[in-house]
Amino acid sequence: MDTNFVIEKFILVTVIFAISLVIAMYSTYAERKVAAFLQDRLGPDRAGPFGILQPLADGVKMFMKEEIIPSSSNKWLFLVGPGLAMLCACIGTAVIPWGQDITINGKVMPLQVTDINVGLLYIFGVVSLGVYGIMIGGWASNNKFSLLSAIRAASQNISYEIAMGLSIIALLLVTNTLSLKSIVEQQSSWHWNVIYQPLGFLIFMVCSFAETNRAPFDLPECEAELNGGYHMEYSSMKLGFYLFAEYINMFVSSTVMATLYFGGYNYPGMDYMATILGPFWAPLFGSFIFFMKIFAFIFFFMWVRWTIPRFRYDQLMNLGWKVLIPLAIANIVITGIVIALVNNF
């Protein structure tokens, strides 16, 4: 094993990890600011200029809180729950291509931790594992409401994963590969998959709202019915981990949507920009564009949260099973027919 390779990957992993944590941290701030602006308020503005230090203050508060572990809970699983939620949220970004290969001192370095040929399935798997954190936490709390919420989370994730998987199948018919790097490379300049798969994108987006337990699908943490849901018995930083994992999940699914459907680091006119900026700055500019897309999605997540009320449980299930899954299947059929016609005539 080449030491340079290890160092290179280690740096990349550290940077990506730091970036996703910082983005998740400032998502909490952005969420409150966006909520405030959408409701004609100002939002947090006391900690530092424009309240920019608010996430730090929240973090300190979370660490300083008393930690309570209910005596009737299953202690080991109670501790594992938040850790698992956090872990599953964090490892999802490993296969994302953050930019084109970058040239530093004549050495070409890929801006991707690993380009496994089942990248898409890997992300799918990791996202599905995320529900275990909620499930275990809710069950280990030994509390009716937590358990109900955990069951809701599990059934919701399973129902929406089906539609999500089906929408991805239609995408795979177009791309013919599971490797995220190739998928992004196919979408060079403006050939974004969203143009070929608008319905698939819509289904995928709705499902990723459900997968990340974001409003309007935040039934697992519904305050009115479940007293806050699966993290009801959690306090201190363990609660913080759950809340934080939700924001990292939001970041990851924004990233996946930008990668799969909005061309990742591609943007119109990138070949021209590459000749101007050179082999070092051009990939970084591409990454910048990529992050802009991600931020746009994160903003959209928040915008939706402060617009649409929470679905009722039966509405959620109706939407998942009776609307999204048939639509996704129809999408596969139409895509298949169109591809067959295009290839044969």
């Binding site: 966006v34 602006f37 959408l38 004609d40 100002l42 915008w303 617009t307 939407l319 009776k322 609307v323």
Partner: protein, 166 residues
């Protein structure tokens, strides 16, 4: 049977059509509404730094006035305490000494004048009752505190600042 009010609203239960079941048109409408608020000016006043303008007849903290020569106007007649519906005002009167003529306007003055701000209801009856125009509720909002005893305001907090000697 005729209903008591003439209002009649016939509720019809219609099943949703496909577009409504997908929720998309209404969601788009809702998103448009919220984003239009994103660009509106917020009505917030950042309180400790900014203050909303008070109306002219707004009643705030009391102040005990001085006359044009800087002497305290209060003569400790006790009418304010008598008129106070909340019984928030207490005072102890004393006779003015000869060498105190520059301090107090009348021959009798209040040695102790205390208002309990927790009892006060800011009705303004004391200012109406005062024959000497010595008390007015023209101050700012009474600040918050942690201890009850700190809400009993004595003359140190109530009496106007002395006139500046020019």
């Amino acid at each position: 049977m005729e209903s008591l009010s003439n209002k009649k609203k016939v509720l019809e239960q219609k099943s949703l059509n496909l577009a409504e079941r997908m929720y998309l048109p209404v969601i788009a409408k809702g998103l448009a509404t919220t984003i239009s608020h994103f660009f509106k000016k917020s009505a917030t006043i950042k309180y400790p730094e900014q203050e909303r303008e008070f109306s002219l007849n707004w009643r705030g903290m009391h102040s005990l006035k001085r006359d044009e020569e800087g002497r305290e106007r209060c003569t400790a007649c006790g009418l304010c305490a008598l008129s106070c519906p909340a019984e928030a005002i207490t005072m102890i009167a004393a006779e003015r000494k000869n060498d105190e003529k520059h301090l107090y306007r009348e021959e009798k003055y209040a040695v102790v004048y205390e208002i309990n701000m927790l009892r006060c209801i800011f009705c303004g009856l004391c200012e109406e009752a005062c024959p000497k125009e010595a008390i007015y509720l023209d101050g700012p909002i009474v600040p918050a505190d942690y201890l009850r005893k700190n809400f009993i305001y004595g003359k140190d907090k109530l009496v106007e600042a002395p006139l500046e000697v020019k």
